[in-house]
Subunit: 190 residues, 2 copies
DNA sequence: CGTTTTACATTACAGTCGTGATGCGAAAAT
DNA sequence: ATTTTCGCATCACGACTGTAATGTAAAACG
């Protein structure tokens, strides 16, 4: 048999191609053939590593959450030890905003998956778990209602940034204003 | 020739069928044949009123914004004359949340269109105009930054409600808390 | 009344889709 | 050295897509 191969590596290779296709041409353009072509391979390879298209999609969704997770931890690590809760939350929340091309691509894929999940209960379940987990972590640093608000607010800002409705500057200002209202309430009062 | 027909009426009939399909099976299931079947007609009819599929989609997007607009004005009218800004904003904002099946259906379609717009600049432009118009109206009743925040927050809440991540009760509590923070700032301070 | 125009149905076409089957060379296992 | 098994390519299938072409019945118009 041919050289033994790490299947996870191949799967990530395919999933990366999928995400390039999805980010550039939308999730509806994600077909076995397009993904295979983008990966420089054949549909046979894709089929070999993912029995069905849905399996491939699920795996790609995991990759996206993986990206977000990685960005969050490295942003948090960059803060040094014992960061203030406000800084920590800001660092994590901004990882959900499409502030550069990489995050923008992931954001487009994530949005596409949101729509995709509307008809796939199992996909929706994966997303739900991710969101709730994140909110619960936020809630260790601020009151639960504020954590809920923060997550929804950031997600909404990301949505509007993706459609170029709000520029990054506006989104960041909104985010900072909200964090202010939580961490230094009514600072400008007599 | 056959009985003269109001083309707008026919187009809305088709668009309604489109939205039923999209709400139930996702926007990816929206094909000329499925829409035609849902409308109890043939693809020929659809082709007669929409030269191309994209035209049909654009029209359907208009219908969705029309629905939202109608809901908003009737909710506002129900408030009676000279409503308080806070009540007005709350009445309008809640029309963007999927609080019943009708709004949920529109929400799913709207979300699908968000993803659809990611690859269609003209669709994105339509959405942008709607969002900015709404935000600017909000801004006549509250400071501009708060208006921006409100819209993003509501959109994010809607997203999470659509995936059943947050229940209606939570979303409404978050919304009310935010409105409180704008209209009765720091009420609980010494 | 005849003609033209409108509303829609039917069918055809070329392309893409997901999936299953099959083939085949290379390397690991024996 | 031979057999087995893995990695991947290739091809075929039926279903589905958007669009164009064509047909047809009916009512408006001259």
């Amino acid at each position: 048999m041919p050289k033994r191969v790490d299947p996870t590596e191949r799967r990530t290779l395919i999933a990366d191609a999928l995400m390039r296709v999805a980010a550039q041409r939308g999730l509806e353009a994600v077909s076995l053939r397009h993904v295979a072509a983008e990966a420089g391979a054949t549909t046979g390879l894709v089929q070999h590593y993912f029995g069905t298209k849905d399996e491939m999609m699920l795996f790609a969704l995991d990759v996206v959450s993986g990206h977000i997770g990685e960005r969050m931890s490295s942003a948090v690590n960059a803060l040094g030890p014992e960061p203030a809760p406000r800084d920590l939350l800001r660092a994590m929340a901004t990882q959900l905003l499409p502030l550069d091309e990489a995050r923008r691509a992931d954001g487009r894929v994530g949005l596409a998956f949101f729509a995709y999940a509307a008809t796939r209960p199992d996909v929706a379940e994966v997303q739900r778990r991710g969101s709730v987990g994140l909110r619960d972590f936020f809630a260790t640093l601020m009151p639960l209602p504020a954590a809920t608000t923060l997550l929804a607010l950031v997600e909404g800002l990301a949505l509007y940034m993706l459609t170029d409705t709000y520029p990054a500057q506006t989104a960041l200002a909104v985010l900072d204003e909200f964090l202010d209202s939580v961490f230094s309430p009514a600072a400008g009062r007599p």
